[in-house]
């Protein structure tokens, strides 16, 4: 182990500022969530849970939240299922159209979500497929796959191929090698990719505005629609809840597997 170097006073100040810059908005929104007032204000005299109770008086919010959870889980899982074989093919084999395929998979990164949203809307109108949950999942798979593919490909590139060769010489078939050796070794890339995809899908607003129907409204879209009509501290309460849920999920993952192990690899 390399011992950690100590920060100098300037570096320490700089790091403090960076951390403060990142955390300040989250702290403010969480404080606002507890306001007893009717406006977005930081509570000074007393705290109240009225805006949290307010959320549960809006069943459409709860439904959207559940909808978003399902959407993000499904989309992230599908994206992983596509990315692992795709990354394997792009990393290991030289075939015609290899670079084109790579570029195709990554292209959603450079196309603005607004453009994608309009394009999907037109496409669905043409083929008469508007409004279904399945198509919403498909759209999300398109926009989150670049992230998963990048992480999984990085995992493949960093893989010591000789471990696979060793397994093969010990008598394992191709499929057994993948299942017993390759997959566990790239697991950090896969889980990291899944998490990143989940978060991206859960957050996605711009494209979703165009492709959701009243039955499939996601949480960000619901919040956006609500916020365009009225600004009240319930938005802050929803945000605070989401922050708390994310933090809790991270905590559980860390306790269960260790975040280092999932996102960085074996320690």
């Amino acid at each position: 182990m390399i011992p950690m170097q100590k920060n100098g006073p300037v570096a320490l100040l700089f790091h403090t500022l960076v951390v403060a810059f990142v955390l300040a908005p989250l702290v403010v929104i969480c404080l606002v969530a507890f306001t007893p007032e009717n406006t977005l204000s930081i509570p000074t005299t007393s705290f109240s849970l009225r805006w949290f109770r307010e959320i549960f008086r809006h069943p459409d919010f709860v439904a959207s939240f559940v909808n978003s959870l399902w959407l993000a889980s499904l989309a992230a899982t599908l994206s992983v299922a596509i990315s692992v074989p795709a990354a394997l093919a792009i990393d290991r084999y030289d075939f015609p159209g290899r670079n084109a395929l790579n570029a195709l998979f990554l292209s959603p990164l450079i196309i603005p979500h607004l453009v994608l949203g309009v394009a999907f809307l037109r496409l669905f109108a043409l083929i008469g497929a508007t409004g279904s949950f399945a198509w919403l999942v498909a759209c999300h798979v398109v926009v989150i796959t670049p992230y998963v593919l990048r992480l999984v490909m990085a995992a493949f590139t960093g893989l010591d191929r000789s471990a696979e060769q060793a397994a093969m010489t010990l008598g394992a078939s191709h499929w057994t090698v993948f299942r017993r050796v390759t997959a566990p070794m790239i697991l950090p890339g896969i889980t990291g990719g899944w998490l990143l995809a989940f978060i991206n899908s859960f957050d996605e607003l711009t494209m979703s505005i165009f492709v959701t129907s009243p039955q499939t409204v996601t949480l960000p879209v619901r919040m956006y629609m609500y916020a365009t009509e009225s600004i009240d501290p319930m938005m802050a309460a929803v945000s605070a809840l989401m922050i708390a849920l994310t933090a809790a999920a991270m905590l559980v993952l860390d306790r269960a597997f260790g975040l280092d192990k999932i996102l960085v690899g074996q320690k």
Partner: protein, 351 residues
């Protein structure tokens, strides 16, 4: 009776031949090293035997069976990779058991064989550790145990000691030989370290630029190198370029008598003699006079660089407990005629 036979084995990439016409017969239980500098084709040859690289031409016979086109998982050979290639997510015991699991060996027998093998490589207490919790030498022994537990007909070692520090490398050389002799497995080792190849092999195959240039027992290789390259690559060698004149080798105007014959007057020749075959004598009492330029104490011996009219010459003398001649001292170099070799200098004549 040959157990493993390579016949005219070649691997060609485009117009570059990584290995060309490799012919080798290995007897059962033999320890053969493939020795050469990087890029000489030794690893390619090993990978062809393992089935990881497909030969362009030639055949590989194992125990009378043609395995040239067999996939690596059907060959059943044991391989130790340079990076050890342990499975990082499995414990030592799981790593070693992997090959047995693939062979559908029952759990009870598997556990027993794994335990026996770990005992053989002195890792009995480490079964539940993960590779990352082991030192380099321990990982290496896990890799050997994993390769040997399947009782392979042939064990292939790819630079198995190159990632270890000098002291550990020496220990592991003997360890490797001990294990190999104990198990009796036919072994082929790839190495670029001549000392490693000489110390533990029954035979050494020297490779240069994709070709085999000499196959011999280590001491024969050392005493009778087939090419100038081998003479300098295997051990240290003094090579003095000169011409053949009046039945003697003439180096920089000095005539050095020789038993050799068959050279033409004026032909370019090279005289070579190993440092340990040269004795230091008082000035004027040897074949060549010189001045000690440097001396290095190596523990068991002293290594001198002696400046002579014929060029700088390395001399190795055993440490007899007394301090030998210092830098700047005038000495004479003497050696037996039988320990020098004279060869025609093909390149020199052409240049």
């Amino acid at each position: 009776m040959s157990f493993l036979t390579l016949e005219k084995l070649s691997k060609v990439y485009g117009d570059f031949a990584a290995a060309r016409d490799i012919d080798l017969s290995v007897a059962k239980g033999e320890f053969v090293s493939l020795l050469g500098p990087s890029g000489c084709g030794k690893t390619t040859t090993l990978q062809m035997i393992a089935g990881l690289v497909e030969p362009t031409t030639g055949t590989i016979m194992l125990d009378g069976r043609d395995i040239t086109r067999e996939t690596p998982n059907k060959r059943g050979l044991g391989i130790v990779f340079q990076s050890y290639a342990l499975f990082p997510h499995m414990t030592v015991a799981q790593n070693v058991a992997f090959g047995l699991e693939m062979r559908k060996v029952a759990k009870a027998e598997r556990d027993e064989r794994v335990a026996t093998m770990l005992g053989l490589v002195h890792l009995g207490g480490f079964a539940e550790r993960y590779p990352r919790q082991l030192s380099g030498g321990q990982r290496q022994r896990v890799a050997i145990a994993r390769a040997l537990v399947i009782q392979p007909p042939v064990l292939l070692l790819d630079e198995p000691l190159s990632n270890l520090d000098a002291k550990l490398r020496e220990e592991m050389q003997f360890e490797l030989r001990r294990i190999q002799q104990r198990v009796g497995t036919t072994t082929i080792m790839v190495t670029h370290d001549q000392a490693e190849a000489l110390s533990i092999s029954d035979r050494v195959v020297v490779m240069e630029q994709g070709r085999m240039t000499q196959v011999d027992a280590p001491y024969k290789l050392y005493e009778n190198p087939a090419t100038p390259f081998i003479s300098t690559f295997v051990g240290k060698m003094n090579r003095l370029d000169g011409v053949w004149r009046k039945g003697a080798a003439e180096i920089a105007g000095i005539a050095l008598p020789s038993e050799a014959s068959g050279f033409v007057e004026g032909q370019a020749i090279a005289l070579s003699v190993r440092p340990e075959k040269i004795a230091l004598k008082p000035a004027g009492q040897g074949r060549l006079d010189g001045t000690i330029a440097n001396r290095f104490f190596l523990g068991g011996s002293w290594l001198f660089t002696v400046e002579t009219p014929a060029g700088a010459i390395l001399v190795s003398a055993p440490n007899d407990g007394e301090e030998p001649a210092r830098e700047g001292a005038k000495v004479a170099l003497d050696w037996a005629l039988a320990s020098q070799r004279i060869e025609p200098l093909a390149q020199g004549a052409a240049a």
